[in-house]
Symmetry: D2
Subunit: 410 residues, 4 copies
């Protein structure tokens, strides 16, 4: 048994298959992938890694399974999945995932191949665990998949608390001790037991407040967009000779070094290193953006950028168009027991609907450019994209927002 000291959960006991997985290169690699990517450019203390997060998820999974009275092989399978759930991440976690997905067709939680290979596969098989079964859990499949990846999963419980601890933003401070205690299975579904409507609400609320404040903070979005663009240029640069598969298995150090040494990306790299970032030329609400733009694919986005830069008469590399996907309308799948029956949280709590509405009101399309080009790029973007904003107003509103940002961000 190993005992590891963690800044969030204090002591984490690592045992059985987890003990052996810990020493695999696939897991050790996560030490070098920051949990929140470029968020550390906003919150300087947010340098925690996927490694410690994976330990935390494993720890909460152990606690949850204990309360659910699950033991033996089944428990070991979940332990392995919890510890391994993030080994598929590329450098900077989610930051460049859309790029690698476009090229490799794989998301970070599709790890069937990965878990079957090398030392991870060996360890799993040594412990009589089928790699494919563990990979299924990572993908959220099966009865216990919900515990690893679902609306009540231990992944979210850990990252909310951990991100709060490391950013200093208290909104993620949920009662994870109570959450893991109150999990139960009813009709094969993972639900929260009687008396936990507020417990469930608090989890949703924590995420809803952390989202705009941390994960989608405008400066985090800008720097993420710059990093993604830089990585794309790296893939396209003949000098660099980096393909998507190689990129996918880099860690943060590799990617940063590659961006620094490649001519096509050194400007982005310098800007990220010196925190000399692009600024918002446009920051538009959902209602002001034509539907076609929201649904545009990557090729169309690049084409828009070309048009905007042409109209503004600036170099193509000076314009980034950042269009988040439309807020999803998928039903919240959180279930709670109320008076002896399983109910969807949305039926029980008016907060669910409100938080969904809040997501809409927080959605923003961004066009970013170097500070000195903002006015030209902003006006050009309003025209090219057909935004329902008076081009003349763009800079005014934007300056107000930036003054605000100047406080409360680094």
């Amino acid at each position: 048994m190993k005992v590891i000291k963690d800044s969030v959960h204090d002591h984490i006991q690592v045992d059985g298959v987890a003990r052996d997985l810990l020493d695999t290169p696939a897991l050790q690699r996560l030490r070098n992938i920051r949990q929140l990517g470029t968020v550390s450019l906003v919150y300087p203390s947010a340098n925690h890694t996927r490694f410690e997060h994976s330990l935390g998820v494993y720890h909460l999974a152990c606690e949850g399974l204990e309360h659910l009275n699950v033991e033996g092989r089944q428990a070991e399978r979940v332990h392995a999945a919890a510890l391994l759930h993030d080994v598929g991440h590329g450098p900077f976690s989610h930051n460049i995932e859309s790029l690698t997905h476009r090229r490799t067709g794989r998301y970070h939680d599709e790890v069937h191949g990965l878990l079957a290979e090398g030392s991870v596969g060996d360890v799993l098989r040594d412990h009589d665990l089928e790699p494919a079964a563990v990979a299924d859990l990572v993908a959220g499949e099966g009865r216990f998949g919900q515990l690893v990846s679902g609306e009540l999963d231990v992944d979210r419980m850990d990252y909310l608390v951990r991100d709060a601890h490391h950013t200093g933003v208290p909104y993620g401070t949920i009662d994870h001790g109570r959450l893991v205690r109150e999990l139960t299975f009813a009709d094969g579904e993972l639900v929260l037991d009687e008396g936990n409507v507020q417990t469930a609400e608090s989890l949703l609320v924590a995420r809803a407040l952390m989202n705009p404040t941390v994960y989608s903070h405008s400066v985090a979005r800008i720097s993420k967009a710059m990093l993604r663009r830089a990585a794309e240029r790296l893939l396209e640069s003949p000098d660099a000779d980096v393909d998507a598969e190689t990129l996918q298995w880099m860690d943060d150090h590799d990617l940063i070094a590659a961006l620094r040494s490649c001519d096509a990306t050194s400007d982005f790299s310098r800007r990220l290193d010196h925190r000399d970032l692009f600024k918002r030329a446009v920051w538009a609400e959902l209602d002001d953006v034509p539907g076609g733009i929201i649904e545009a694919d990557h090729g169309a986005i690049r084409e828009f950028e070309r048009e905007i830069s042409a109209r503004a008469d600036v170099d193509r590399s000076r314009v980034i168009l950042d269009v988040p996907s439309r807020p999803s309308m998928t039903e919240s799948t959180t279930r709670v027991m109320v008076n002896g029956e399983i109910r969807p949280l949305g039926q029980q709590s008016p907060l669910v609907e409100a938080l969904r509405a809040a997501q809409y009101s927080q959605w923003r399309l961004g066009v970013y450019s170097p500070p000195d080009l903002r006015d030209r790029v902003g006006r050009a973007a309003v025209e090219v994209l057909g935004l329902d904003i008076d081009g003349a107003l763009v800079s005014e509103v934007r300056d107000g927002l930036d003054a605000t940002l100047d406080q409360f961000v680094e």
Copy 2:
């Protein structure tokens, strides 16, 4: 200058008028009044007092005023009001306030008389402060009254964080550091500056989650109802010779000692001391309760209790009917700056409406009795009150709830 160590704000500097007010008996008395009254019967570590809370409110007021660039006499007036805002509380804070209000016509924040008298009045006048002006601030009046008592007041900021620290329930963990920094005046109104929609939401959410989990926890409500009933019997008992004014200025020790030594209240007192509490005989939702009952005044409530006890054939003292007032529909007055204009938070955030709806769904009418009489009392209450519940179901649902409560409460 004095520096006081506080479990929540670390070091609190006390200076000027506050330094002198600290030594008055009116303020020292608050050391002996628990902040959350009977909540400590649910959360055993919640023994913090109005004294430390008052210091915390004073501390946050100082910080807020500093950020608002308010100094001199105006600042001192607010300092005094912040420190004194709770000196009007009776024993067990809000727990018996409805009782003393019925008899004295005064709420705890009506302190004009109190601040003019005795050593408090002397100290204020020594510092050239008009007691009436300070009392106005305590009542939330005037430009700075909003900082002492309003939707964005430092009172709430302190109690949420403090109650979280002492109960162990994390939902109250707001970002008070940011809140006091972001206060600004616009058109004479206290508002949150640009970029703080989530900051404002987080304050509302914190209260919305603390309410059912802590402040209105069913066991806290039951014990509060028992205490209030005991205090009422004390006033009515000829032996005790305690009138409402005397009761009002007791501290917790006085009231507990009085209840223990008076024959008419010793049973309640023993039950509270030994945590041998009444249980819920009925726990009904808003829709199941006839409007007339919700609007009933104290006399009518006592009459209902008489009828229920008669029909159940139990002693009158064995039945307590606990009807919270109807969830209030008052407009949230929190204002935030958005794109340069002052907006009511409710217009900007769908959460405001949802939290109001949540209040409705959490409202409960309670009928409490000793455990062994619950079935009789429950059925009788359903009939007498004309509740829209099948009497036969009362005990079933209730038992489910109690099993839940048994976890997660002391």
Copy 3:
């Protein structure tokens, strides 16, 4: 099973015999006894009680036993002892223990009688536990007595962390998680396993720093001495009709109410209520005090007070002489494993001896009186006690100390 939310250990699971003991009046009484007595006059947030501390000690005992692989009856016996270890405390915990001990011959941890009686005795016997065996553990006897009461006991681990949490003084923040994990038995002794010299040192250091800063803070000592004197007068007052046995079983509310209502004690009571405390007339180091005074018994101390008040020409009740017992030279019994052998910590760590020396340098004899009488009382005390201080210097040094205290205390 019950789950209780605690401000320090988060969730505490209470089960088996502990679950049933929780509902006994003997345990519920501890809700009304503050853990640190008059320390709350220095640190206003230190209002935590023996009840929550008892739960914490029980919780750490459970964790320790789990790591020691102790189960069944033996574990239940320790659980009971941990939960009950403080039921023998009188009002204000240790504050008046010397007084009640002089009159009843019993310290708070001599609970053989108490555990055999009433509902506690019934519960223990219902769970097949011999009350005397549990009382032995409380007294620190037997193999597992060391875990309940000894140098490595869970009592100390809980109170250091809890007192730090509630006072705001961080010195008590030990690594209790590691301590309970690293306990092991060797040759029948409870020791810390290999690699824990620093773990052991940190526990000693925490106590050594908390002592002068919190437990023996001069204002805490003054108010404790006033309370003890008031309680003594209460016992001596024919009107009050309170004997030592009655006093012993009061809780804080009872004692405060009694002191308020008794003529002989109302002055002390008013002073404590209003924090209008005596001040130091003398504060003398060990080397400046004749040996005979340090060894003086209670009768002699009272006689000295009489002489001092006579010489200073003040009323006898205006002088309190406070002589702590000589720093004890008992060997530290903490044992640690080093390179496979059990070693006394003192042999391994130079800190043990240094902390003992520090205790000497912190020892102070105090003479307290109302502020306006300090000079007269101070000079008289120097003469009567034969202190090796120039009487003329007393007030000067003292005023320096008080100016310091004025900061950093309430």
Copy 4:
């Protein structure tokens, strides 16, 4: 003004010269240098950087200066020095400092050249600050140099608390709020005011406990030694073409990338990446090591390694000899006010001497090698170094230690 959210100090206001320095590449570079280097291989959450630490030191300097009533140019000079005090660090902070010092002759706090150049120099001069004067403060010179670098400096206050927060080891939790408040100048020296003997002791104790537990944890030492050796090979490798000056200005990403891509270092690099570390072949106490070895210079150390590897018949790169410098006997310079006079803490507190003695007892010489070569290397080292240990016993003791380490470290 900028407000930055910090995980330790919550909100940090950055203003004046600090605001402008923040945007310089020299400061932004610190984002990519981990505060504790390889300690994250022991405590996985210890990924905090010199950047956030620098902000924290700046913040505490501001607080300290406010309490000392220092304003204007003098304050700005100290602000700049506090923020810049670590810009001279190379990759992995102190880990390879002995190596770069040997080759460049410069330690990280010798920044006269650095502060005069480039954007940092420009910013300082724009604010009318002389770079040399700021560099003097960084070196601890002058009246205010003690606040930036001395026994009571804000550097130490920040790192103890921050390292505790991020490792999870609570020993560093000092009362920094009190420390900065209690600083005062007496006879031109920075001292702690009356009543702060314990405050001063707590700072010493915190460091004394953090040292063996965190900073000099054996696994941190081993991985640091491996990193240092790898960096030395990098400098010596003709392929790599890296000189000491280049190495000095790398950040962590650069160095890791360089080690990965250079043939001569890729083995060390792989071991560090996979946490496949050398183990202790010898771990010897001060008394068992001949004096000549302790005083040996780098050349002699390398020669010993050659001899050991020859005698053990293993490749030279498989042996690392790690000899810390002799515990220093320099007088503690902490001064405290006691009864109106300045006293060295060592005179007032027996702890100072004890902590120095503890340093001796914790000193260890280490010989490290791959696990499978330990026995051979261990025996050879005992002979070559003339250690006063029975070669046969080395492995036995060592295995006991490793079993312990296996718990409580990652």
